[in-house]
Symmetry: C2
């Protein structure tokens, strides 16, 4: 059961002018599943993306990077589930290219104007002929209001589709922002999440898109973890269709740039947090906040040590305030000159540890009360500096083991 997350209502998702979406059943791995999604972009759209830092990155990730680097105007994207096309060598690369070629032919585009995305099982060859055969149905299905369908079309072990949307006024024009994401396991994005697509019709200078998508990823998808396993296929794409009619945003530091970025970040964080809320077997949504570090990097290091500790995560699952496990994780996070005598620990409003030891005023029943909540904030104060960082994660339950001992069957 996802933690405080429900399926999106299709009518709540604003269409983004210049984006049409179609979904089909291609039978990539199993029959009867919506497993093929296409995004069609009108001429004039700008696209930027960030991708996994996993050195075993999937073939489609390699092709996305090439096509974006080539400077071609991206006009379509194709997403399949059921097969990640990762760990597939040179043949896998050829199949990712064949997918782009097939869609480009149908649309009268160059292959480099198409971005491919795959997610699913690793180390099996992509059945490109099934994808090819499914494309006409996906294209026939293409509609601006199909975001909720797309959120479904890209799911794998997700229990719920994930989509969020907002609108804002920029320079007198209404700008829409809508995004979808997927992922529930193998989640510790390093540059992006398993798959995330965010679109806006805002007019914005195309050269701002790449720094913008990087900043958005860094403050959303790059701050969540489920199991510490960085996927081979993480991809996060930002599309701007330039259709809202606002005076173009020409700087991210202008007032309008700030407004747009804040609205995009809100949706990106909702999408990223939705992945954690739907984490495999998750029963709790945990915010880990580390303050008082010398640098943001060391705060993240400590936050991830806590967020990845199987012992901390099972204690959250059990609602057991076995909080020494958190201190142990702080201690092994790798900060060589950390002084335990300066460290304070809070669980929501409960002050658990003072100067590295148990707070004399701490009562087990206070810790117990917080641990029973479905949303918990762990706050660690390092007492070394002014930096602070936040990471979102979930607990480790029996269902995580069940799901992952079962995934391929």
């Amino acid at each position: 059961m996802p933690v405080n997350l429900s399926a999106p209502v299709a009518q709540d998702l604003h269409p983004v002018a210049g984006v049409r979406i179609g979904v089909a059943e291609a039978g990539v791995r199993k029959a009867g599943r919506k497993d093929l999604t296409v995004f069609l972009l009108d001429e004039g759209a700008s696209v930027a993306g960030v991708f996994t830092q996993n050195r075993f990155c999937a073939a489609p990730v390699q092709v996305c990077r090439e096509h974006l680097a080539s400077g071609s105007a991206i006009r379509a994207m194709v997403v399949n589930t059921g097969n990640a096309n990762a760990g597939t060598g040179a043949d896998g690369l050829a199949r990712a290219r064949a997918t782009c070629r097939a869609l480009a032919e149908q649309l009268g585009l160059q292959p480099a104007q198409v971005l491919p995305f795959s997610t699913g099982v690793i180390m099996e060859q992509l059945p490109v002929e099934r994808i090819q055969a499914g494309l006409p149905a996906a294209l026939a299905d293409a509609q601006p209001q199909h975001w909720a369908r797309a959120a479904e079309g890209i799911m794998t072990t997700d229990t719920l589709p994930k989509a969020f949307s907002t609108q804002l006024q920029i320079g007198g024009a209404t700008v829409s922002i809508t995004g979808i994401s997927k992922g529930a396991g193998m989640i510790r994005p390093n540059m992006a999440t398993m798959l995330g697509f965010l679109a806006t019709d805002a007019c914005i200078a195309p050269e701002l898109l790449q720094p913008l998508v990087r900043e958005l990823a860094d403050q959303s998808f790059n701050r969540v973890t489920i199991d510490g396993d960085t996927s081979t296929n993480d991809s996060f794409v930002l599309m701007a269709t330039q259709r809202a009619g606002n005076a173009p945003v020409t700087s991210l530091d202008s007032e309008q740039g700030h407004q747009l970025k804040a609205a995009l970040l809100q949706v990106a964080q909702q999408l990223a947090q939705a992945i954690v809320r739907d984490g495999e077997g998750a029963t709790k949504f945990i915010t880990v906040r580390v303050e008082g570090g010398r640098t943001g990097e060391e705060c993240r290091q400590v936050a991830y040590a806590i967020a990845h500790s199987p012992l901390v995560k099972t204690a959250f699952f059990a609602s057991d305030p076995n909080l020494g496990r958190i201190l142990a994780a702080v201690g092994y996070a790798g900060i060589q000159d950390l002084d335990q005598a300066l460290i304070d620990l809070y669980l929501d409003d409960v002050h658990v540890a003072v100067q590295g030891g148990r707070n004399p005023a701490y009562r087990e029943e206070d810790g117990q009360r917080v641990m029973q909540q479905s949303e918990i904030t762990v706050r660690v104060v390092l007492g070394r500096g002014e930096a602070a960082e936040t990471v979102w994660t979930c607990d480790l339950s029996h269902d995580y083991v069940t799901i992952n001992a079962d995934y391929r069957s």
Copy 2:
């Protein structure tokens, strides 16, 4: 159920001349448990130790370091379970010192001649008065042949006591080596294991003991992981009582030094591997071997990424040859210039991946066959150099979650 591990037979464990061991029930956390163990060393013994690198190291670890650094002749050690005396601040340090003082008084020693060890729950104050009250019974119990009792006395979530022993001839004299260890969770030793005690009656130059214990730890306890959680209390101690009558070993590089080191390492590795075999919820014993790296360090980095991946570990639990998860872990291990096209993967004798892609000759049923074994070797060839390293770990099962969602109750 531990993986191919049974309880030691008391008669198989050679007493080590100059070491006596006593065990008692002190009721540290719960009544009716053997939770207090003392080691008594005759005059002339040499002792060296290595301890956790966790910055939140426990009070007893801090006191051990002090007492060893003071150059005092160590004559006694006291070990309690039920309470780790970690995350306990200045008060915890005072309680660890009080424990040493209490034992020293009973034995007519200086407190600095006593080493304290604690293991159990973190962030609760050590009931030093109970330990004090239990010491007379432990001292009355002291016998050279009590190694098996000691292995029991230091257990926490272990399902079996762990003890190994060997004898060898050095320079015409019979040298005995016996050791015990404990630990089943919070296991990713960094310099040592949760608790390991290794004794020999060999005559060896005392100044060789510290480099020797470090080398032994590095090739045994520092090569195992269960959950990646480095404990606050890891301690590994080597005692040499100098009583075997062999011509003293004065160099580790001499023939006799090599012999002694090899025999000690054999026992240390058995003790370390026993911890993995008895890992919380373990159903399989996994050897991860990484070859063809540029440095030993990068081989270890890759090996630990595999050994810590929850996805890899659940796949082993399920006997599911979902081997792409291993490639994904290799990819995110953090080697920036890793070339996936050079990587081969083997599961025991089965050649799974060639040059970063699925081996065309690989058949799922071959992977399946190996995955069903209780002992499995994963071998990754990086194709970058000559270095190789081995790490031992176990799978991640429902019982790991059950045990750790339950530990304190």
